[in-house]
Symmetry: C2
Subunit: 334 residues, 2 copies
């Protein structure tokens, strides 16, 4: 009799696994290898150039700021700061989102006010707290002065007479960023490997789905595909300890419905990109999970819930490929 | 001015690519690596044994029939016959579906009257036109007589005292069949590689979606996940030339709504598994496409439509891995 109960218990626990897989497949997709764009076809030449430009500091007003400064790939594409420090110690208005898998989103930046990774790369050049360049012209002059780039731009944009432009700068960086995919154990699970997640992680996934986290954090990035109000049940700042209240997309659109609305951040590699939220106000992922339950779901998560969901989120930490991690040698000054 | 038009043309054709990708991702998922089961966890030992048993003829009444007879993997898991020939030249009632990717379906056989690959493997043993074994007991005796299997069953089912059973035969074969995944260029496309499909293939995919083929042929197998009446607009036999009218699931359930209803076949490797339909009545894939348009969509497909969809279907021809293609050495008679 005891054996029968044990058997049934085993069977029912076990049964949940493919059920969970099928459920998960309704909400999530395996991470893409690359995030293509029709406007900016990815070529090896563009990717090579883009990776160099990503590390290029000579196009910043202080000569020390590059994309890599706020998005070090070895730190999973973010900088571990609440708000990034750009040129001359200037502090950016929001937390720097990771560049890894970022191109797979509907838009860039917390408020979605950058259309795509190319738009982000280009406009960062003039950002007062980022590169701080006085004009695109100025950047182009700088790039042209580094003779080594002339051939590299020519190879990346072979049909253009004068390829050294900020638009091509943006395209090259975009092309590289479109290759920054970090598949993880969760993708193995989605591909049918039930043993890719531990029981605790599966429990976390189950709760992530059943509690409703998945209503915003879905798709191949587990986020990044919609906008949502931060603080549905209660104001977010009540729990995050945010000193300044950020009105989110409202500050762009001036529409009441956009108040406190942000792009839902992707959760790929989330365990590696502390601190959290648009203002980096929360350091602990577990606390961030608890806050999300509170303000987004109106739910007081238990310690066990938080631990389970935390476990699941750990399974989203991906592999940093050689493409991502290798650092290029830049052309020398002339 | 001509340049502008060319540019816009290029841009618009090009724009359709990621739009098509996003659309495709709504209907299709990349093919899983394996098709897991909670009742039958996949282990290397089970897979090894299952692969051997797949080629085993000594458990058939005529000593020449194996799973591989009707499902040769080198022919993409089907036998190129309208209806398979089982023991002693007996003809099976329907066309043998491929075993490749088959485990990913909601059920097995054309009428879905086999719950899963394990059920199919087990019941084929007693099938009059397949193995023709007089009883499961008889099969078990045969297996036990081949001493080499004793250890192999023991390794595959280490917790069982008497592991040489038809249930374990079925589980071992099932475990192997659950590994028979054949990813193709279409999966590369779904993973973001826009250049994995040619323009013609993309056109075919577009038509496959917009004509409505996708309303039944969807998911990771492009089919295999629902039942549907064959002949919605017109009787199928009007075009297939079927000599015998098969009533489909009605012959099992006796429910009027199941008349001419079959499991929607997966289209993975479809270009390699002629002849087509439940009775193998149509040899040409192009003709099969045209018939589907006629009887399922009430649509007269043009030659160009058929050619385009045909091109898309070619992109579903997958890779036959070493796991699939290598043929095992079986234990000798004693």
């Amino acid at each position: 009799m005891h054996f029968l109960i044990l058997f049934l218990l085993f069977f029912s626990v076990s049964f949940a696994d493919t059920k969970l897989l099928n459920q998960a497949r309704q909400y999530f997709q395996p991470l893409a290898d690359i995030f293509p764009s029709d406007d900016n076809p990815i070529t090896p030449e563009k990717v090579r150039l883009g990776k160099m430009l990503f590390y290029e500091t000579r196009i910043s007003i202080d000569g020390t700021t590059s994309c890599a400064k706020c998005h070090p790939v070895s730190l999973y594409g973010a900088d571990a700061l609440p708000k990034s420090i750009g040129n001359n110690g200037k502090i950016n208005p929001r937390n720097a989102p990771t560049v890894l898998n970022s191109a797979g989103q509907i838009a860039q930046h917390w408020r979605g006010d950058r259309a795509d990774v190319e738009d982000q790369a280009k406009r960062a050049l003039l950002g007062k707290a980022s590169f701080g360049a006085p004009s695109y012209k100025w950047v182009e002059e700088r790039l042209k002065k580094i003779k080594g780039y002339t051939l590299l731009f020519k190879l990346a944009f072979p049909d253009e007479k004068n390829p050294v432009t900020v638009d091509n700068f943006a395209k090259a960086i975009g092309a590289w960023e479109r290759t920054l995919s970090t598949p993880s154990r969760f993708d193995r699970f989605l591909m049918g490997h039930l043993d890719a997640l531990s029981d605790k992680e599966k429990n976390g996934l189950k709760k992530f789905i059943s509690f409703g986290c998945v209503s915003c954090h879905s798709g191949m990035l587990i986020g990044g595909n919609m906008y949502q109000k931060f603080g549905i049940y209660e104001p977010y700042w009540k729990y995050t300890g945010s000193k300044k209240i950020d009105e989110g997309r409202y500050s762009i659109t001036k529409k009441e419905k956009d108040k406190y609305v942000f792009k839902v951040p992707p959760l790929r590699n989330v365990a590696k990109t502390s601190p959290y939220f648009h203002d980096g106000s929360v350091k602990s992922l577990k606390k961030a999970i608890w806050i999300m339950g509170k303000v987004q779901l109106g739910k007081e998560l238990t310690n066990e819930d938080v631990e389970d969901i935390y476990s699941f989120l750990l399974s989203l930490t991906g592999e940093l490929s050689e493409n991502i991690l290798t650092v290029p040698v830049l052309p020398e000054d002339n």
